[in-house]
Structures are given as structure tokens and as C-alpha cells.
């Protein structure tokens, strides 16, 4: 797929082709402005690709957007949420729109609130939440319907160490059940330790993709940081 801005003058994503498998945690790396967020926004239906196709879970985002959206969930890099709703109202709203049955909703919300340490604040208006708490409420909302594909843009930013750890553990658990996680990050250590495969995007083009071992084979160096720096220089 490709996407450009300013009537084609700026190529944000340039002929990118990528396949992510079930049960995989896929890390999407790249310098600032490389095209990570644009790619993710196209995947979740926030932006329309100029050319190419995106298929998730066998559904085309172009032709069957609702089926795609029902099977994915998305956490943006800067979570703008309804400040005038309480946390619980926001979660209930998402439960309704994703059609999560009441019993499952109760069980999952209680579990995730506990996991991310947000139980005490869930009854407050979101406007009183800190950045990290907003990030957490968006995460919980995104996990509510147990999505087949979990897509996150810079999810660790703003999270405290405990919540960051909980999220990483949950990602593993999520994939163990045959589901998929696709996330962008700048934290190379996280990508190195957590991801089954990694893609590196630079100036809109996918310049490397594979397991850590495969990436190491492409480069003489051992660390992801040096591979990343060498490729994106």
C-alpha cells in the first residue's frame, strides 16, 4: 500500500507490503516521521490508502470495514477520550458498540481494571485522569471485546513500569491464544524481547522485516539498536 500527502508531494508510505501471522507479536519500528502511524491509521480505517489493499482476518478494510473493526482494536499514540464521561461510562459505551454481553463485560472490566490499577478511579470523570490513566482506560476499552488483532501505536508511552509490564504480559497471553498483536514503538529493548517478528520502516518503505535472528543475519552487528541505526542512517 501507498499513501502520500500534499497532492503526492510527500510520500508517507511507499509501496509497503507486509504480512502478519496469527499468534504473532509484530513490532513496527522506524524513526520519527517514517510512516508508522500513517500505516497503522490505514490499517484501522482512520486513513484511506492511495493504492493497495489491507486485509485483516480475511476482511478488506475497504470493502468490509465493520467486520474488520469488529475483529480489531486500536490504541492511538495520543489517547483523546471523552473527558465528560466517567471511566465506567466510557467502558460501557464501548461494550455496547462492540456488543460485549453484560456478564463477559463485568468479568473483563473487573479483571483489566485490576490489572492496570484503575479500579479506584473508574467512577471519576476522565477529565480528572492523568495522561497515563487515560492511556490505561483506552487500553482497557480496546481489550474489552477480546479482539483478534490488537493494534497499538506507541503503547508504552506514559505508562508506569508496573502497567507497562502488565501490558507486555498481556500481549504474550493474547498471542498465546492464537491472536495477533501489532504495535509500533521506539523502545528497541521492548521490541527485541517481546516481538516474534520486527519490521523497520524508513521514509515510508519497509527496509527490513523478520525475526531477530533474520535481522541479525542481514547485519554484522548483534544488537537491534545498531541494526536499526545502520538501516535508517
Amino acid at each position: 500500500m501507498s499513501k502520500s500527502y500534499n497532492k503526492g508531494k510527500v510520500k508517507a508510505v511507499d509501496d509497503l507490503s507486509l504480512s502478519v501471522r496469527p499468534g504473532e507479536i509484530f513490532g513496527f519500528l522506524g524513526p520519527n516521521g517514517a510512516g508508522k502511524t500513517t500505516t497503522i491509521k490505514m490499517m484501522v480505517g482512520l486513513l484511506k490508502a492511495d493504492s493497495g489493499t489491507i486485509s485483516i482476518n480475511g476482511y478488506s478494510i475497504e470493502r468490509e470495514p465493520i467486520a474488520v473493526k469488529q475483529s480489531i482494536s486500536y490504541v492511538p499514540d495520543n489517547p483523546e477520550v471523552y473527558e465528560k464521561l466517567t471511566g465506567i461510562e466510557y467502558l460501557n459505551f464501548l461494550g455496547d458498540v462492540y456488543g460485549v454481553p453484560a456478564a463477559a463485560r463485568r468479568e473483563r472490566i473487573a479483571r483489566f481494571l485490576d490489572l492496570f490499577g484503575l479500579t479506584g478511579a473508574v467512577n471519576n470523570l476522565i477529565q480528572s485522569y492523568s495522561h497515563g490513566m487515560r492511556q490505561k482506560i483506552v487500553l482497557i476499552g480496546a481489550l474489552l471485546h477480546e479482539p483478534q488483532v490488537f493494534i497499538l501505536d506507541e503503547p508504552m508511552v506514559g505508562l508506569d513500569p508496573k502497567s507497562s509490564h502488565s501490558l507486555k504480559e498481556y500481549m504474550k497471553e493474547h498471542c498465546a491464544g492464537g491472536r495477533t498483536v501489532f504495535f509500533s514503538t521506539h523502545i528497541l529493548e521492548v521490541a527485541e524481547k517481546l516481538c516474534h517478528r520486527i519490521g523497520i520502516i524508513h521514509q515510508g518503505r519497509l527496509i527490513a522485516c523478520g525475526t531477530m535472528e533474520e535481522l541479525r543475519e542481514q547485519s554484522r552487528d548483534k544488537s537491534l539498536e545498531n541494526i536499526f541505526l545502520e538501516l535508517t542512517e
Binding site: 482512520l46 473493526k69 483523546e80 477520550v81 455496547d96 479500579t119 480528572s128
Partner: protein, 556 residues
């Protein structure tokens, strides 16, 4: 000083959207001309009102001329401009000084408080010219043209126009700075906003009462009473607010006295600025810092959590409830969408109250012999209330930066629009209690009549709601940093009202046509019903057809 000018320039560029406009002119000329065209359309649609005001000023001028004091028309307009600036400007000052989102970016910069405040003051000042221009310029023109004034008058008039809002704004700013220093309001911005809006409502009602208490046909006598004599209202207010008197004499007195008064007026306007600067350095940060909103944590018990999660509902209902909850919890939305449903009926009743109570009005309703008119009038009331509430015409805009969520949830845009229609209906039906009160205390409706009134009211609201939603869907204003902008600076609200008003007028014409043809009452009702449904169904069908494409291209 350098920083101050730089920051003023930056703030004006941001506030007036000059940079964005210039960018659009160079890169997206279609959007640029679209924006310009819309502004012209709004100005054009307001021009009949401006013409009415101009005629009122002319009447006032000739009345004042007969009394030998034609300059009173200038004093009146200078005073009304100043009081409007003092009140509306102060609300704006409060918002700009204490609740702008860019303060968190500006405060950590190595700038003096007075520099930040000067930039904010400049923005408020420029925006206040929009208030002053329609109030003052017609009086300046009427007086100048009728007195055959020369170029110096027009130059002095321009200077007076530019300086006019400075003093009232400075007075308002000083009061706000002191208020915020001695109270703990900055942490309760919603409460403060609601208080300000309620005060505005009281002033509007009082103003309406004052205007409508003028006996019909005696407007000239009323104006005479206002301006004639030392103890008249105008002279009293001019003494209370001397800049208006100086400005009047600067524009109307013979040359040496005019020049002296002009100098006093401009010097007085400039003299208030150092005072504000002094107060800014001493009070601004003390009232501002520490006012971040931190609400008490109310933890929730497992049982309460269970109870709150026990209900699930359909996506359409969930969308409607989200709209309503956010609307009633955001004071500016609440005031404009729900408060207006309180204000409009009160404003409609005030003329009767001002002229001796409600009895004659009730008598008038009781005397309506044809039930047809009463029933249609009551239904029209519901439709007009739907027209006055900007709930639908700002529905997409109010989502602002949260619109991403509407794009990623697995609920199609068409379904989401149905939720918005539902929430708009819930708002429009807030008019129904008025109808019930009317039937209880004025003219009783039978149950079947009441049901028909509600049904016809719903039908009349249909084109109003769908046209308003369509106006907002086509060009939603999402890029706001203050919810006030989503509703108060949103042209879609005006466009929705104009389109909805036109639709109601067409329904009226359809009903009148059938009635004039001598048809029986049920056919008139039917004509109104069918015309409303057709006029509502067309924009509804367009909404459903374009929803996907519009959602796709809107926001990121």
C-alpha cells in the same frame, strides 16, 4: 517589549486562523474560497437584522435632532458598545486568561506574566471589534452623513472605533484578575462558566423586558425620555462612564473642543494599559497556578461496579446516550442546547409580562376559534425549539479530536447518525413539557389532540434535525481546543438554523395552500405531516448515502 509583540502576533495568527488561511490559500484554494464564501453567506444572512438596527438608529437620530441634541445617538451607541464589551468581553477575558489550553505551554516559557496577558488581551480586543462594529458604526454613519461631516470626523470616528473597547475590556480584565486572585474559582471552571452563562441569560431577559416594555407606536417618545434632560438615562450613564462623553464630544463638538476631547479619550484608553500590566505581574500567576482540576477520587465498590455494568444496550442507543451525557456535562453545550429551550419561551413570554401580565395572552389563545391553528401552533412550537437548539448542527463538531473513536468502532456511520438523530429528538422533545403545561393551565387539548401535536411536532423536527446534521457532517469543525468553539464559532450552527428555518417555511406554505383550497382540517394536518416527512426524508437519504465517504475523509 520585543517578546510581547512577537507573542501578540503569534496569538492573533492562531486565534484568527491567519496562518491556516494563508496556507489554505496557497495549497488548498478550494477550501480557502469555501471558507470565505461561508463567511459571506453568514454576513449576508444577518444583513436584514443589521438593516433593522440601522433604521432604529435613524429614528433615534431624528428624534434626538428634534430635541436639539443629535449627538445623543453617538452617546447611546458608544454606551451600548461599551456595556456589551464590558459584559461579553469579560466572559471572553476569563476564558482567554485562565482557561486557554496554550497556557500550559506559555507559562513555562521565560516570559513575564504581563507579556502573556498582553497577548491574550490583544486577542480578546480584536475579537471584540466584532461586537463593537455593528453597534457603533451605524450610529457613526447616520450622524456623519446627516450632519455632512468632513474627513476629520471619519478619521476621528475610526480612531474612536479602535479605542472604544480598550477601557471597558481593561476594567473587565482588572475585575477578573482580582476575582481569580481572591477566589478559588479557577479550579472549578465548569461551575464558573455556568454561572457566567446564567448571568448572561438574566441580562438577556432583562434587556428583552426593557425593549418590549416600550409601548407600541410610542418609540419616539420613549427615545425622547431616554435622552432628554439632565436626569435622563443616557446622560446619567454618560456621567457614570465618562469615556463615552469624551468620545461623543470628540466627534460632535467644534474643532478645538473636539481635539481636546479626542486627546482625553485616547489618553484615557491608553492609560489603562499600564494598570493592567501592573496587575498582571502581581496577580495573574497567583490566580492561575494551582487551579488545575483535581476532583476527589470516589472509589467504587465491586457491587456498585457490577450494578453499573449490568445493563447493555444497542449501539444506536449507546451513541445517543453518549451524546446526551457529554452535552449535559459540558456547560457551554448545556447552555446552548438545553438552556436555549428555557430562554426562548421566556423571551417569548416577556413582552406579555412587560405589558401587564399573561392574562391577555391566555385570552388570545382561548379566543382562537379554530382548533386547527392551536394544534398546528403547538406542533410548530416543538419544531421551532428543534430549530433553536444547536444539538444536531454541532453534533459531529462536538466530537472534536475524539472523532477517531467514531471511525474505529464497529458501528457504521449510518448507524451512528441514527444515534445522533435520536439524541437530537430527545432534545427537541424537551419542548413537550411546555405543551403539557399549556394544556393544563391555558387551553386544554384532548388526549388525541395532544398525541397529534406531538406527532406533528416530531414530523416538523425531522427536516430541522436532518438538515442540521447534514450541514455539520459536510464540514465538521473538529480542530478546536476549547468546547466553546465547537458550538459558538461553528458556522454550521447558523447554516443548520437557516436551512431548518427554510424547511419549516416550506411546510407552512404547504399547509397554507391546502387550507386556502378549503380542505377539511384533517387534510391540512396531513399536508403538514407529508411535507415535513418529505423535506426530512431527502436530507436523511443524503446523510445515509454520504455518511461512509464523509466519515472516511473527516479527521485522521
Amino acid at each position: 517589549m520585543m517578546h510581547m509583540w512577537q507573542l501578540i502576533k503569534l496569538q492573533l495568527k492562531v486565534s484568527l486562523g491567519l496562518s491556516a488561511l494563508s496556507w489554505y490559500r496557497r495549497h488548498k484554494d478550494k477550501r480557502f474560497f469555501y471558507g470565505i464564501g461561508l463567511v459571506l453567506l453568514v454576513v449576508g444572512s444577518l444583513s436584514p437584522m443589521a438593516w433593522l438596527y440601522f433604521r432604529l438608529i435613524r429614528t433615534a437620530y431624528f428624534t434626538a435632532l428634534m430635541l436639539g441634541q443629535p449627538e445623543a445617538v453617538l452617546t447611546m451607541s458608544l454606551l451600548s458598545s461599551s456595556f456589551f464589551v464590558l459584559f461579553f468581553g469579560s466572559i471572553y477575558v476569563l476564558s482567554a486568561f485562565y482557561f486557554s489550553r496554550d497556557l500550559s505551554f506559555l507559562i513555562p516559557l521565560p516570559l513575564q506574566p504581563r507579556v502573556i496577558l498582553a497577548a491574550k488581551f490583544a486577542v480578546v480586543l480584536v475579537n471584540n471589534y466584532i461586537i463593537v462594529a455593528p453597534l457603533f458604526l451605524p450610529a457613526l454613519a447616520v450622524f456623519g452623513l446627516n450632519q455632512g461631516m468632513g474627513p476629520l470626523y471619519w478619521l476621528a470616528g475610526l480612531a474612536v472605533f479602535l479605542f472604544l473597547p480598550v477601557t471597558p475590556l481593561a476594567v473587565g480584565s482588572a475585575a477578573i484578575l482580582l476575582l481569580m486572585r481572591v477566589t478559588n474559582f479557577s479550579g472549578r471552571r465548569d461551575a464558573l462558566r455556568l454561572l457566567g452563562l446564567m448571568l448572561l441569560m438574566v441580562i438577556l431577559v432583562a434587556f428583552n423586558y426593557f425593549v418590549t416594555s416600550i409601548p407600541p407606536g410610542e418609540e419616539a417618545d420613549f427615545i425622547q425620555g431616554l435622552i432628554a434632560g439632565e436626569r435622563s438615562l443616557v446622560n446619567f450613564l454618560a456621567r457614570a462612564f465618562p469615556p463615552a462623553a469624551f468620545a461623543t464630544r470628540a466627534l460632535s463638538a467644534p474643532l478645538p473642543a473636539a481635539a481636546l476631547n479626542f486627546l482625553i479619550f485616547t489618553a484615557a484608553s491608553l492609560a489603562v494599559l499600564p494598570v493592567i500590566s501592573f496587575l498582571a505581574d502581581r496577580l495573574f500567576y497567583r490566580g492561575l497556578i494551582g487551579g488545575e482540576e483535581i476532583s476527589a477520587r470516589r472509589s467504587i465498590s465491586a457491587r456498585e461496579l457490577d450494578r453499573k455494568l449490568a445493563r447493555s444496550s444497542s449501539p444506536v442507543w449507546a451513541i445517543a446516550m453518549r451524546e446526551i451525557k457529554i452535552l449535559i456535562r459540558t456547560p457551554i453545550y448545556l447552555f446552548n442546547s438545553v438552556g436555549i429551550l428555557v430562554i426562548v419561551p421566556v423571551l417569548l413570554l416577556v413582552p406579555s409580562l412587560a405589558r401587564g401580565g399573561l392574562a391577555p395572552l391566555l385570552q388570545m389563545f382561548t379566543n382562537v376559534e379554530q382548533r386547527l391553528f392551536l394544534n398546528l401552533g403547538a406542533a410548530a412550537f416543538i419544531g421551532v425549539m428543534a430549530l433553536f437548539t444547536p444539538g444536531a448542527s454541532s453534533s459531529f463538531s462536538r466530537e472534536g479530536k475524539m472523532f477517531w473513536l467514531s471511525k474505529v468502532i464497529p458501528v457504521g456511520p449510518a448507524q451512528q447518525i441514527k444515534g445522533k438523530i435520536l439524541s437530537s429528538y430527545l432534545l427537541a422533545f424537551l419542548a413537550v413539557p411546555y405543551i403539557i403545561l399549556f394544556t393544563l393551565f391555558a387551553v386544554p387539548f384532548s388526549l388525541s389532540e395532544l398525541l397529534m401535536v406531538i406527532l406533528l411536532g416530531a414530523a416538523l423536527s425531522f427536516p430541522v434535525i436532518t438538515l442540521s446534521l447534514l450541514a455539520d457532517l459536510l464540514r465538521p469543525y473538529l480542530d478546536w481546543d476549547n468546547p466553546q468553539k465547537a458550538i459558538k464559532q461553528n458556522l454550521n450552527v447558523v447554516l443548520g438554523m437557516v436551512a431548518g428555518g427554510a424547511a419549516l417555511y416550506l411546510v407552512y406554505l404547504a399547509g397554507r395552500l391546502v387550507y386556502a383550497g378549503g380542505a377539511a382540517d384533517p387534510f391540512v394536518y396531513l399536508a403538514v405531516l407529508v411535507a415535513s416527512l418529505i423535506l426530512g426524508a431527502v436530507p436523511y437519504a443524503i446523510l445515509m448515502k454520504i455518511a461512509d465517504a464523509c466519515y472516511q475523509k473527516t479527521g485522521t
